[in-house]
Symmetry: C2
Subunit: 431 residues, 2 copies
């Protein structure tokens, strides 16, 4: 295990820390940042300065570091209620060590220049893999660095953790929006719209789509149909279900995951179908499904594509999610100062009702590149709904509201100053 | 002026009242219903039973009436925080008196059978026209009926009123969502998405699109571009603005109204289908604009279509909007018992800062079929933003939050029992 602080004369010499946000952002990733930063400030004997990568790992590669010490306590507190990535994120996956050793060596070069002894990487599967590799090359190059992953992904597909910070809030947004839109279409169905399609995120895992199922209080309520990436799309069964729903209830609400596929593995959204208006496909399974229903059954439809709205909707964040996001950031720093390397704080469910949880470290090697999809027993036998077991799992994750403060009718989200750290290296790095 | 209650022996004999919801529903139309119902219950000497049309005016034509008296006080109170049309709405425009006298005569027949002396019609332009015609034929047929319109439309296009109940909440939703999604795309822009397009409602009037402009605290902040139906789409100017925004700020957020048109009057996206009122069914301009940018400039994009989510989003309703929605319902009943016929309660702005308003009656004849679009001086000279005057107008309308109660992480919206009134007529009516 790497030593987090080098002793000298009986005193711990503090080393600096690096924090970065990675991949698609969420409503609560900044709450994790707040957890990291506020906790780091409590360990001045271990952690000296805290730097953040501007736009994630790219900030490290290009030595574009933000001096977090310049941000006020009020700003850091405000991150807890501010969505998206305040320090900038990046979709940039470091390649394998063998394929691109230069990138890792550059990271170590930058870290060495700034005496960075702690690496906190806030992301999903790919990011946990990167954090693991940084810890390995640090060791291989004889540069002591403690790497801790901070979990984040709306996709909720990391293993070993009860859930992923960011998911609870998007789940709440989708459940609330589905319940609201369902009331709307029910009002209109007599003379107008009978079909409402809501497209949600989740390319490989249907967790977000599943959350739409929470909108129903009891069986038969909207959404009448959920389309999961885990279940091959059966058009005939789908149409029969739509028809039955309209005939018995007057309308049909459909929540469709962007990752829904035909039995041959092709996404519905890229299957060469025209969109709802006969235009060449622009991306968007929502309009594709809506148009399919109109062509087959002739019903008038509306569709919505929530896209970024769902994952940035801090205004309707889950309180549990905010608390967990903060807690994993806090735990990451605590693990680091304890000298735990190559771990990730995971959320462990102690009980479902009431929901009780704790944070425990799991090895990054067990997390990296493993994808947790919705298990079959969470999906009803017909493939169109969620089971009681799924509901039991999901319900605690959307519990509680954690409203941001408002000014002039709008959420008062903070912005960082983002003061850059003076560069120390002459060399540059092209990403 | 029609007498609302017929005197007999010095006592007022109460007559029954009819209430219906019409057209596209909103987050607060049920708050108006609550205002009507709770106020009607305070005038037992004037108003006997209160019936609601199931699915709007269709409920009257088919004698499908809901006995509102069967709904508990708690349910009616709950309507104040429940979105969409609890009694069912309809897109059904009565034709002109000359074209289809039979419909009006049928209404009077049903009203006569149930001794309905008050007609409250909760809707937009078309509905105010219907209320006016009902008052006219009542007079022509010697059947005394007091008709009061209750304004409602997310489009905010009714004249003579400072704003339309329903608009403030969709405006708040769009402003909040734009601010949130803008933070998201700003986080991602370095390596990924540079363009975010949010499509919003507003067929002929750009009020909802304008509300997106509130997301910016100061000039230059997102949204960088708003596309209004009032401004002919200038593709070259638009592309230049997108490019400049990406080059200087790294990204560009675009709020586009579904009603945006080319200089020749053609909608950027037209579905080709028409709704019950003969209006073109729109939706899908978001992906069209996003794709246009990609083709021309090659930027990676995301787009969202809020559709019903925006107008049913009671979870983020404007407190001012909820209060005004309730107030117009309450005033409608007060006008009716005062014997004011063929009027609509309008919201009169007394001052902007602080926002103070009152309710005053305006004649339906002055409201019906008049459309208030965004004035040119509310749109910046380049056609892509809102002016300070526009901001001054809009800001008070999204002020304050009015959160619904939550149970199990979800808003606790009420449902009515919807007990039908026993039919009295043998004849039926096909709509």
């Amino acid at each position: 295990m790497t030593k987090p602080g080098r002793k000298s004369g009986g005193n711990t010499k503090p080393r600096n820390a690096f924090y970065a946000q990675s991949g698609g952002v969420t409503a609560v990733i900044n709450a994790s940042a707040a957890g990291v930063i506020e906790t780091a400030r409590k360990y001045p004997r271990h952690i000296g300065k805290l730097y953040a990568g501007r736009h994630g790992i790219i900030g490290a590669l290009t030595e574009d570091l933000i001096d977090v010490g310049q941000e006020s306590n009020a700003t850091i507190r405000g991150l807890r209620h501010t969505p998206a990535g305040a320090f900038g994120s990046a979709r940039f996956k470091l390649k394998g060590l063998e394929q691109n050793r230069a990138e890792y060596e550059r990271l170590i070069e930058v870290f060495k220049a700034h005496d960075i002894g702690y690496f906190f990487y806030n992301g999903g599967n790919d990011s946990m893999d990167t954090a693991l590799k940084v810890s390995q090359i640090g060791e291989a190059m004889g540069y002591p660095i403690t790497c801790v992953g901070v979990p984040k992904t709306v996709d909720n597909d990391l293993p070993l953790t009860d859930c992923c910070p960011g998911f609870g809030s998007v789940a709440k947004y989708v459940a609330v929006s589905t319940r609201e839109a369902a009331l709307d279409v029910a009002s209109m169905a007599r003379t107008s719209t009978k079909i409402f399609v809501l497209e949600v995120m989740g390319r490989h895992a249907g967790w977000i789509a599943a959350a739409g199922g929470l909108a129903a209080r009891k069986s038969g309520e909207a959404p009448q149909i959920i389309l999961f990436p885990e279940i091959a799309f059966d058009k005939a069964a789908f149409m029969a279900r739509v028809k039955a729903s309209v005939e018995t209830q007057g309308y049909c609400v459909i929540v469709v995951s962007e990752g829904t596929r035909y039995p041959d593995g092709k996404f519905l959204a890229e299957a060469g179908t025209r969109d709802a208006f006969g235009h060449a496909q622009l991306g968007g399974v929502g309009p594709v499904v809506a148009n399919m229903v109109r062509e087959e059954l002739g019903y008038k439809y509306h569709w919505a594509v929530a896209d970024y709205l769902q994952r940035s909707a801090r205004h309707i964040a889950s309180k549990v999610d905010v608390e967990q996001a903060y807690a994993v950031g806090k735990a990451a720093v605590e693990y680091a100062v304890q000298g735990r390397n190559a771990v990730m704080p995971a959320i462990i469910r102690k009980s479902a009702r009431p929901y009780r949880w704790k944070i425990e470290p799991v090895p990054l090697s067990a997390v990296a590149n493993v994808e947790k999809t919705v298990p079959r027993n969470f999906i009803t036998a017909d493939g169109f709904g969620i089971t009681a077991a799924c509901r039991r799992y999901l319900e605690p994750l959307i519990a509680g509201e954690d409203y941001p403060p408002y000014v002039d009718g709008l959420p008062d989200y903070v912005r960082i100053k983002g003061k850059p750290v003076r560069r120390k290296l002459k060399s540059t790095f092209k990403v």
